[in-house]
Amino acid sequence: MPADDKTPADIATAAREALVRVVRGAAAYHLNACVRCGLCGESCHIYRADPTPENLPAAKAAKVASHYRRYCTLVGRYLPRLVGARDFTSAALEELVEAVYGRCTGCGRCGLHCSIGLDVAAIIRAGRHVLASIGMVPDGLQRTVSNQLETGNQMAIPRDELLSTAEWLSEDLKLERGDEAARVYVDQPGQRILYLVNPREVKFFPLSLMAAAGVFHAAGERWTMSSKFYDVTNYGFYSGDDDAARELTRRVMEEARALGVQEVILSECGHGFRSFRWEGPNWLGQEYPLPVRSVLELLEEYLAAGRIKVDPAKNSARVTLHDPCNLVRWGGVSEPQRRVLHQVVQDFVEMTPNRQDNFCCGGGGGMLSMSEYGDRRVASGATKAEQIRATGASIVATPCHNCADQLLELSKRYKLGVEIQAVVELVYSALL
């Protein structure tokens, strides 16, 4: 919420300045070109669950566009009513919060289906940038960004707790692999890989971290985590706060340099991949000095090179695959996970549609951290739930921890009875 010492006029001025700053070039074209055909409706999981006009992607984008017209076009400046141009009043800003945080996950499927190819999600992001610049990010989402900036990870896990968890997992791993060297490595300089994880893996769901450590051991990999900066997520990307996003990226890349690794490998996380792999160099204004890849690409490499041996019969249950929007549609990683699953799973079936045309699970865009939209989030997962049900699978492989939480909830609410697993967990179970 806006700071109390600011008047509505101050806030409107700050919002206008932010809007002018973020909407430039192609973005301005996208804001003005919608032909209102309405084709975007059926492409959107939120609109499909609740087809009210407010949920139409074009309508959400129009909220941002109405302010652009007010401040950045000649007619909008002088005859705002004529073109539906709106001031940044308190009421309009609240509506904007609702539209860009509460009714859109930024999944981008509408852009793919738009009759003239508009990048609607980029328009929504422009709206989030404006709201972030005036302190109007929803509380739960903002707390997640603040935790990450203040403590180094989004769940504010103390360093000692990370170290204790690494020890605890290492004890189990040693027993399972029968080798002292099978462990979760932390703060080891000079390794080949710096591995980033979702703090959720440390605090609540450690089996994926244990599986990754087990697969790294089997492949003879030299790897480490950093106890300072191990968080693969970047909620500044979701909130629209580029300064926070830049700082979170800078810290990790600095840590990679300090530890002397040759490569940064990202755990299964959709927006984390998009942020670190693609957005990061833009935030930093320079190319990275070393490669940044998804663990899925590494797993595929291990299998292709024969560095790990697997038996798909160890995963005999039917498995389908969910495509996280930020990893697949935005991130371009769609095949490595499929080539891996075909080798480690006996009965793999695709859901439809898939790959770039997948439906959002409903948990993206920071939605899981904003309780005020919880009921809408679960309702918007109806399309995904039916996609899963149609496959008859009992396991949904999900290369994103954010999607995993949403899918777990969908399984409960829609009575799917499926188990959600990271790809690396299935690889670990298939190890010989």
Partner: protein, 102 residues
């Protein structure tokens, strides 16, 4: 929702808006929604530990501590609470939703 003569409210994620109103009857009711027909000793062990830890630290405990203090394995926790430690066990324990990607 009314439980034992008390009005209990939940946020849109299903977490109690006033954790102070929590009692064992409320816990059993939420557990019912989680598909837990009858809370076993292990369920109570986990829920009571989470509750106590939260009262002391204002945070949900990490799963490592739950396992250690209650004497259950990680895999067992996911079987007991199919929504997991955060959206499952913490919710039954009457905590607010833990922050972040969960």
């Amino acid at each position: 929702m009314e439980v034992g003569g008390k009005q209990i409210d939940f946020d849109k994620d299903g977490f109690m808006t006033d954790p102070g109103l929590w009692d064992e009857q409320v816990a059993s009711t939420i557990a019912g929604e989680e598909g837990i027909a009858e809370m076993s000793d292990k369920h109570w062990g986990i829920v009571n530990f989470i509750r106590t830890y939260w009262q002391q630290h204002d945070l949900a405990p990490p799963v490592r501590l739950i396992c250690k203090e209650v004497g259950v394995s990680v895999r067992e926790i996911y079987k007991l609470f199919t929504s997991g430690p955060a959206r499952g066990a913490c919710r039954v324990a009457g905590l607010p939703k833990p922050d972040g990607c969960v």
